[in-house]
């Protein structure tokens, strides 16, 4: 790129006072940020605003709509409880209600709601042939997507009674993954705290956990702006990259979990068993873009599966499902067209795999229940 002398093009302006220059700069910065607010909302997305629900904690604002273009491309609408689903009315007679708890893997913010595994499961289970075979012969099936981005299985423990009361599910599907140190992250409303070699379970609501910067942004009404959300996330990504930590969209660095993490997992599973009478746990491992495969199994995954078996909690480790499917189809279950294959969240194919695995589980449940019922019917 060649440049000629710009002397003639420079408008000679007399020196302005410093405060005028500062004001000019500030005004220009505000206008540029407003411009980018518009651009980001149109392209990357305008996430739904969050509010403090009196019982559920920090959730998307009831009936709000968010737009995500960072990973995948989708619009999300939230119901009165902040779930990415339709309004939840009292359960009508004859309805089989399945509540799907989990994190962003369940919420499925990168794709249309109808493509998430809860909704795929609902469509499959809701077919007339299946309804006729299900125990109790329900007249309808409702599978609720109650995935909450940024949460862990600790939330499902802490909110068990609330969920039971508000939703009245017949079955609960809990999607988990390897959380590692995230279980101890003080930003979470339900988390574990280390006390020497021991751990304890803690609940503190969002406003108590956030720092002064975020509180200031909330009070100024800026926290929910696309510029603020995206900008803060970018700043975190740059800092993580600078300190060589994985960014938000990448799988956590493979490292053995601490003994306290494993004890937290033990405790969670035992509590889940006690609090949810009919529960199935789905474990989704992480994908690795670099190796175009799943990351190696970590101790946390192994421990979770063992705990579930010893507590008689049905568990579906998706690892085997994914490996078998990929060997045949060569379709990565993670990644979207605007990200990389095998990176980030499960895509439509990944969600279909989970839905198929759950369908197989419920078929087995139905078969078991029918087997138990058979002697009675023979009588």
């Amino acid at each position: 790129m060649g440049y000629t002398s710009a002397r003639n093009n420079v408008r000679r302006v007399g020196r302005r006072p410093v405060w005028i220059e500062a004001l000019r700069l500030f005004g220009a910065l505000v206008i540029s940020l407003l411009l980018w607010e518009g651009i980001l909302r149109l392209t990357v997305g305008a996430p739904a605003p969050f509010v403090q629900h009196p019982r559920l904690g920090w959730t998307p604002k009831p009936f709000a709509t968010g737009f995500n273009g960072r990973e995948g491309w989708s619009r999300s609408t939230y119901n009165e409880l902040g779930f990415r689903d339709a309004r939840i009315d009292p359960k009508p007679p004859g309805e089989l209600r399945i509540l799907c708890l989990g994190d962003s893997y369940t919420e499925g913010g990168g794709m249309a709601a109808a493509r998430t595994f809860p909704k795929l499961l609902e469509r499959s289970l809701g077919s007339p042939e299946r309804l006729a075979r299900l125990p109790g012969r329900p007249t309808s099936v409702r599978v609720i997507n109650a995935g909450r981005a940024g949460t862990t299985m600790a939330y499902s423990v802490g909110l068990a009674e609330t969920y039971q009361e508000l939703v009245d599910p017949d079955w609960v599907v809990l999607q988990v993954r390897d959380y590692g140190e995230v279980l101890f992250d003080p930003i979470h409303e339900f988390r574990f705290v280390r006390a020497g070699a021991d751990i304890s379970f803690r609940n503190s609501w969002h406003q108590e956990n956030v720092g002064a910067v975020k509180r200031a942004l909330v009070s100024l009404g800026l926290r929910e702006s696309a510029v603020c959300k995206f900008g803060l996330q970018r700043a975190k990504d740059f800092l993580r990259a600078a300190s060589r930590q994985p960014t938000r969209d990448s799988a956590p660095k493979a490292q053995q979990p601490s003994s306290q993490t494993l004890r937290a997992v033990d405790w969670c599973v035992s509590q889940l068993r006690a609090r949810y009478p009919r529960l199935v746990v789905v474990h989704i491992p992480y994908g690795s873009a670099a190796s175009a495969a799943l990351t190696s199994p970590q101790a946390e995954e192994t421990r979770l599966v063992e705990d579930c078996k010893s507590n008689n909690v049905p568990v579906i480790p998706m690892r085997r499902w994914i490996e078998r499917d990929y060997a045949v189809t060569r379709v990565p279950p993670f990644g979207f067209s605007n990200t990389l294959p095998w990176s980030g969240h499960p895509n439509e194919h990944g969600n279909a795999l989970v839905a198929n695995a759950l369908l197989r589980f419920f078929d087995q449940v139905e078969a078991t229940d029918n087997q138990k019922a058979a002697p009675e019917s023979d009588e």
């Binding site: 710009a6 002397r7 000019r24 910065l29 900008g231």
Partner: protein
């Protein structure tokens, strides 16, 4: 320190602040020289030993060549070139030669041990510049520097030390004779060009790098179509990375009051391979032409010799990029392509009129672009075997492996190619620059900077040409 890093920002601000304190030309020259030493030494202080030696050795050799008469003059030049190339060969190519020799020696059950040699960053650039200094003196195209600080600043001029552009002493040294100062128009123009370079590097190159690195890191896991997209991604990555760095270097130099030559001129708009090499890495291709191709005889000794000279020049140009056979193969491919183009022009001169027609130009552009893409596969892959796998999967449209469509990549590719053609069309127009004294322009500048922050890849990869 990379141009896009925080330490560099601190370094630059300190350097510019020095201009406010130091007023005379000599003081500012010394300050810039010190800045260059700090900049280069920041990578590894040991690198300073070699470049310091070059700055002293070639300064005195230049003086000796300038004062000598034939045949002693020629002997001095040969000695200078041999020493410089020996340094390059030792630090950059010795282990490559050893590995290559070991392939032959393995038949005899013996091998040579590899040496642990650090590769000084930018060696390929400053060695070439030192050689051109002495050769230009020998050709009476340049007078030797009378002060070591002037020559040292030519070698240690930090904006282009690491990845070029390769500057000619005849272009740079006269600029040291004038007043070294920061002027508002230069700061504005230079700053804008720096931002352009930063955008190309951080926003485009680093973002598409994720996809191309992923696929080329494991090509057997991907289908032919995915590899084709990765090739397109790499072609965008290497252009935006390298031309982005060049823009930053030229912009920085402009801020300091120096003019460096443009290194790229919409290369992907080239209509043929010869045209491509007049637009891509211009400082290297012109250096190779003036200091290798022409001394070899150029086109003065018949057709076959011309093709051979082209082939040798480009093959060595490939080797310059790195100590590996796939770089040599890439250079040889380019040399062969240029020879074929020359042959075509010689055999069918009557097609000149047809070649000016639009369908022919489109076809010619497509063929050139396709050839350049295939060559980039050879350049990018770590081994020739990997390159073979990639090319065969593309050619056979293999569906074995992950079939992926990267929508952002395709969008970026369209934008970059359109920008190429738009820039090629607008080249003759007066360049537009943003004047922060105007409020609307200030808004645009700040929007631009904020945009770089939002759109830059979190994991910035090192500049590709740092490894050369």
């Amino acid at each position: 320190m990379s141009f896009t890093s925080l330490p560099f920002a601190v370094f630059l601000l300190t350097l510019l602040a020095g201009f406010a304190v130091l007023k005379s030309r000599e003081q500012r020259m010394g300050w810039l020289l010190l800045g260059g030493v700090v900049f280069y030494g920041y990578w590894d202080w040991r690198f300073l030993l070699l470049i310091g030696f070059t700055s002293v050795f070639d300064y005195y050799m230049g003086q000796a060549i300038g004062a000598a008469k034939q045949p002693h003059r020629k002997r001095l030049l040969i000695a200078d070139v041999v020493v410089n190339l020996s340094l390059l060969a030792t630090f950059k190519y010795l282990n490559f030669f050893i590995d290559s020799a070991n392939v032959a020696l393995s038949a005899f059950g013996t091998r040579l041990g590899a040496l642990e040699i650090i590769l000084p960053i930018g060696i390929s650039f400053f060695v070439f510049e030192a050689i051109s200094y002495c050769v230009d003196i020998y050709r009476d195209e340049l007078r030797p520097c009378t002060q070591w600080t002037e020559f040292a600043l030519f070698i240690f001029f930090f904006p282009r030390m690491i990845s070029g552009p390769i500057i000619r002493p005849a272009d740079f040294l006269p600029q040291l004779q004038r007043r070294i100062e920061l002027t508002t128009p230069n700061v504005i123009m230079g700053g804008q060009q720096f931002l352009v370079g930063m955008t190309k590097k951080l926003v485009i190159a680093d973002n598409v790098a994720g996809f191309s690195d992923l696929v080329f890191g494991n090509p057997t896991a991907y289908s032919g179509f995915t590899i084709l997209q990765a090739t397109l991604a790499y072609s965008i990555q290497i252009f935006c990375d390298f031309s982005g760095y060049s823009d930053m270097a030229v912009g920085l130099a402009k801020v300091l009051g120096f003019d460096l030559p443009a290194n790229f001129r919409t290369p992907y708009a080239a209509a043929n391979l010869t045209d491509f090499w007049r637009r891509w890495h211009i400082s290297l291709s012109s250096w190779l032409r003036d200091y290798l191709y022409i001394p070899l005889g150029g086109s003065r000794h018949g057709t076959l010799r011309t093709y051979l000279n082209l082939f040798i020049t480009m093959t060595l140009g490939g080797l310059w990029h790195g100590a590996s056979w796939h770089f040599v193969a890439w250079g040889a491919l380019q040399g062969a392509g240029l020879a074929v183009h020359k042959f075509y022009l010689a055999q069918w001169p009557d097609t000149a009129r047809a070649r000016a027609s639009l369908p022919w130009r489109v076809l010619s552009w497509l063929l050139t672009f396709a050839f350049v893409l295939v060559a980039w596969i050879v350049f990018r892959c770590q081994t020739l075997q990997d390159a073979g796998v990639c090319i065969s999967r593309i050619v056979t449209n293999s569906t074995a492996g992950i079939q992926w469509i990267s929508v952002p990549l395709l969008q970026v590719a369209v934008v970059v190619l359109l920008a190429h053609f738009a820039a090629a069309v607008m080249r003759t127009r007066k360049p537009v620059f943003l004047n922060p004294a105007r409020f609307s322009h200030l808004v645009l500048i700040l929007s631009w900077v904020v945009g770089i922050f939002f759109l830059a890849a979190a994991n910035s990869s090192p500049f590709i040409y740092f490894q050369f």
